[in-house]
Structure formats: C-alpha cells, structure tokens
C-alpha cells in the first residue's frame, strides 16, 4: 500500500496498516473502499455458490425443516414480545400527539398503519437479526474453525447446500410469518394500551383501524420482510463460513453477522419503501 511517508518514529511504533491509515493522502479511504468492495465481491461469489447448490439435487429437505423450526417457531416468543411492547409504546406515545392535533379519532388507523407498514417489519427483522443472525454466525464459525465444514466436504456433502442454502431459505420463508405474528401482537397490545386510557372495544378498534385499508397496505410491507430474511441468512452464513482465528474469530463472526445484517436490513428498507410506494401506490 503506497502512502505518504510518516515520521520514522511513528512508522516504527504503529503496525503497518494502522500507520497507513494515518497517512495524509487519502490512503485510509482507499483501503476502506477496497476492503468493502472485496467483501462485497466475496459475498456475491458466496451467494452464487449457494444459489447453484440450492437449485441442484440432492435437496436437503430434512435440514430445511429443522431450520424452519429453529428459526421460525423458536423465534416466535421473542418476536411476539417485541411486537407487543412496541405496540404499547407506540400507542401511548401517539395518544398525546394525536390529541394535540385534533386527530384522536384517527389513532387506531394510525397505529395499524404504522405497525403493519413499518414498525412491525423492521422490529421483527432486527430482533431476528440479533437472535438468528448471531446464532447462525457463531454456529457456522465454530464449525469452520474446528474443521467440521471441511469434514462435511470430505464426506462428499456440499456445505453450501446443507448449511447455507437451508438456513437462508428458512430465514426468507419465516420472516414474513414472524412479521405477521409481531404485527398481531403489536395491534392487540396497542389496543390494550389505548383501552386503559379511554374505553374502546376491540371490535371498534379493528373497524376504525382497518377502515379504508386495502391489499397494498398489507401484503407488500409484509412480503418485503422476505428480503430482510434473505439478507440476515446470507450475511450470517457468509460471515460464519469464512471465519478464521479460533474463539476470537467465532466471536467476531457472531458480532459482525448481527451488525452487518442489521445495517443492510435498514438500508434495504429504504430502497424497498420507495419501491413499494411506486409499484403499490
């Protein structure tokens, strides 16, 4: 890596890459961009390997079912709890502001719209990213550093098919279903919170909340979580299966799986929201 020369004392004290980071000619940004592009390129190659493995037999149905249970049903309690908590908070926070603007009667509709369109999907994705992303990243990283993935390959098993494709597909399929559960809990608990302030029957809440809603209000926001699931599964598997460095590497893989998948879920949400607004007005 070329860079402007640092004072000799600094260059000898600091390791090479850190010293280069401090050089004044933009080498740090070049290094960061190069690293990012390399990571992205390797992710693309990894994704291509997974797709090839996923669409060619033999298919790993048993492992897929196991992962659907692991990722879906075992995440349900946490997702439901998070959705319910968010529903309560959103409801209580909205009462004051909606009353101030004279829109109290629109509160149920605002709650339904917020939860279904955005809060439910993003909270579900971030919760699953934390639980499932870290779990997948750590599990595969541990297998990598103990040569278990190599042992699979040596036993004539394609690890992209058995380990990665099953987990990525399970995440993609389960996120929309978990989002529905989160939305339901959020709306129910939102109603409970509202009802403690002002008497409102659940029937009335549902009628008011869903009044004027249509197909475009529910299906596209829920199905966008399939993209979130794909991102979480893909990044967690990628980070896990390329781990090096023993126990420290396992820890880094788990952490980076959560951080990177959360970041990319949020970025994807920005893109998908625009996409939904344009194609599902």
């Amino acid at each position: 890596m070329n860079g402007s020369q640092l004072p000799a004392a600094t260059a000898t004290v600091l390791p090479g890459r850190t010293a280069s980071l401090l050089s004044a000619d933009g080498t740090a940004s070049k290094w960061a961009i190069t690293e990012f592009l390399e990571w992205f390129g390797e992710l693309g190659i990894f994704f291509w390997q997974v797709i090839k493995a996923a669409i060619t037999p033999p298919f790993e149905f048993r492992e897929l079912v196991r992962q659907l249970d692991e990722i879906g049903s075992k995440s349900l309690p946490l997702v439901a709890l998070a959705g319910g908590a968010v529903g309560v908070v959103l409801s209580l926070e909205s009462v004051q502001s909606m009353t101030r603007f004279g829109a109290k009667s629109l509160l149920p509709a605002a709650l339904v719209f917020s939860v279904v369109h955005e809060i439910g999907p993003i909270v579900t994705a971030l919760v699953v990213s934390g639980r499932v992303g870290a779990g997948i990243g750590a599990e595969l990283a541990s297998m990598k550093v103990t040569e278990q993935i190599d042992a699979l390959e040596a036993s004539a098993v394609n690890p992209y098919r058995l380990l990665a494709a099953t987990r990525i597909l399970a995440c993609t399929l389960m996120l929309p279903l978990l989002t529905l559960a989160s939305d339901a809990c959020g709306l129910v608990m939102g109603w409970v919170a509202l009802a403690t302030i002002e008497p409102l029957s659940f029937h009335q809440f549902i009628i008011s909340g869903f009044k004027g809603s249509g197909f475009n209000d529910f299906l596209p926001p829920t199905l966008k979580t399939a993209v979130f699931g794909l991102i979480i599964g893909l990044i967690a598997c990628f980070q896990g299966m390329r781990t090096r460095g023993g126990a420290g590497g396992v820890g880094r893989a788990a952490t980076s799986s959560v951080v990177l998948s959360s970041l990319f879920v949020i970025l994807a949400d920005v893109v998908l929201v625009k996409f939904i607004i344009i194609f599902f007005p």
Partner: protein, 260 residues
C-alpha cells in the same frame, strides 16, 4: 478389538496393482510469502500404503488437503483414478470423494451429534442401505475401533484419542478406495496405536485400499507403509522403502531417521 500379540500382516508390494489411483504431479502451494509445497510429486497405487514424513510445518497436512481438494494448488495437478480434479465443482468433487475417506488431525467430529450419529452421518446422507443396515454398519465400524460402548456419548465427553478413533470409523463408513489419514496415531497410547496399525493393514489386505498416511510415528510408518516419502522445506527429499531411506546418503534423511 483386543490387543494381544501384535502380528502385522502387510500385503506384499507385488500384490498392489501398478496403475496409480492417486497421482500428484509437481504441486506447489504457498500461503502468502510462505511456500509450503514446492514441486511435490508422488503416486499411490491400489493396495499400497504411502507414509508421508517430515518435520512439523513442512506441509504434510496441506498435501493431504490438496489431494482431497479442500485446498487448490497454485500449480501442478492432482489426479484421482486418472481424473484431474482441478477446476471441478464441489458436486463433481463429491462424486470422487464418495470413494475417499479422510481422517483429520483433530478428528473434526460434528460436535452437535453423538458418536454413533457421527459415524452414521455419511451413511444417512448418502442413503447407503436401510436404517437397520446403517445401524449395523455403525456398530461394526465402532467395534473395529473399540468404541462401540460409547455410541451415545457426545464428542466433548470422550478423549482426543477416542475422538480420533471415531473419526477413523467415520472415514471408513462408505467403504472408500482411498484412505487419507492425518496423524492417525497421534495422542493414542501404544496399544491403541498398534490397534490402529492393525486395522489399516487389515483394510489394505481385505479391500486393497490405497492409503496415504501422514505421521510422525516412525514405528507406525515402518509397520504399515509400503513406501515412505520424506518432505523437507516443501520438497520431496527422499522416497522409497524404509530400507532405501536408511541407505540414503542425504544428510537430512539420516538426521531425521536418527531421531525418529
């Protein structure tokens, strides 16, 4: 399997067919600036056992990983049953690996499965026989390595030496033609080491397997190997029978055998 008298039964070299089932031709492999394999060539025929010796860190394990395709050489070629494995996809390599068994240096058992499930994994995954046949085969393999009493234990509940024996049983599950063993007797007591040597010899005589054994155990190498090769700084310094190595004039060879 009990250790009584240790009577090695080795297949005479003339029984081995001469067509190589494993052919490594001028393989080079580096990691960064460190050259691990530098123009290594060897062949192994059916029914033959080749021992790979050398100092620690001379690329012996890397050589095995290159042969089974877990690592790609920088140059040179590896052929299995006459087929060059360079450029093959994982699924294409899987077809070749179906007839190969690999024992890793640290066993590499699947830590979420029991001992029995580890050995059954290749059988179940490749649907080799009915459930009953698979169970019988698992029991037979674990009995061969004296681990049948530990069927339901987790890998973390058994010693490193026992893990290695389970790893060997798993490597033999699909009746491989080619067996690659990375330090099969490391961490084992002398009796268990002798039992593993006997097992390798038995497999060779019954199934005419081609075997490549990486080992530091000179006694084991002398017992089971038809030929030995000695690696030094990534190159093949000597190869031949144990007697031929003893007669070799190379200083490194003499020094190595003196301390073995």
């Amino acid at each position: 399997m009990t250790a009584t008298e240790h009577i090695p039964i080795k297949l005479p070299p003339t029984e081995a067919t001469h067509a190589p089932v494993v052919a490594v031709d001028n393989v080079c492999k580096s990691f960064g600036t460190q050259t691990v394999l530098d123009g290594v060539s060897l062949t192994v025929s059916r029914g033959e056992t080749l021992a790979v010796l050398g100092r620690s860190g001379t690329g012996k394990s890397v050589l095995l990983r290159v042969i089974i395709g877990l690592q790609t050489p920088d140059s040179g070629s590896v052929s299995i049953h006459g087929q060059d494995i360079a450029g093959l996809s994982i699924d294409q390599l899987s077809t070749i690996r179906m007839k190969m068994g690999f024992l890793f240096q640290h066993a590499a058992l699947y830590d979420s499965l029991t001992v029995g499930q580890n050995v059954a994994f290749p059988l179940q995954h490749h649907q080799a026989g009915s459930a009953t046949e698979q169970a019988d085969r698992v029991k037979q393999l674990l009995t061969e390595v004296d681990m049948e009493r530990h069927l339901d234990k987790m890998p973390s509940d058994i010693s490193g030496g026992m893990q290695k024996r389970v790893g060997l049983a798993r490597a033999l599950a699909l009746n491989p033609d080619i067996l690659l063993l990375d330090e099969p007797t490391a961490g084992l007591d002398p009796i268990s080491s002798a039992e593993i040597d006997d097992l390798v010899l038995k497999l060779q005589s019954e199934h005419h397997m081609a075997s490549i054994v990486v080992t530091h155990d000179m006694h084991s190498a002398k017992t089971i190997a038809d030929r030995l090769i000695l690696l030094n700084k990534g190159k093949v310094t000597a190869q031949g029978t144990f007697q031929e190595l003893q007669d070799n004039d190379n200083e490194f060879v003499r020094e190595f055998l003196k301390h073995a």
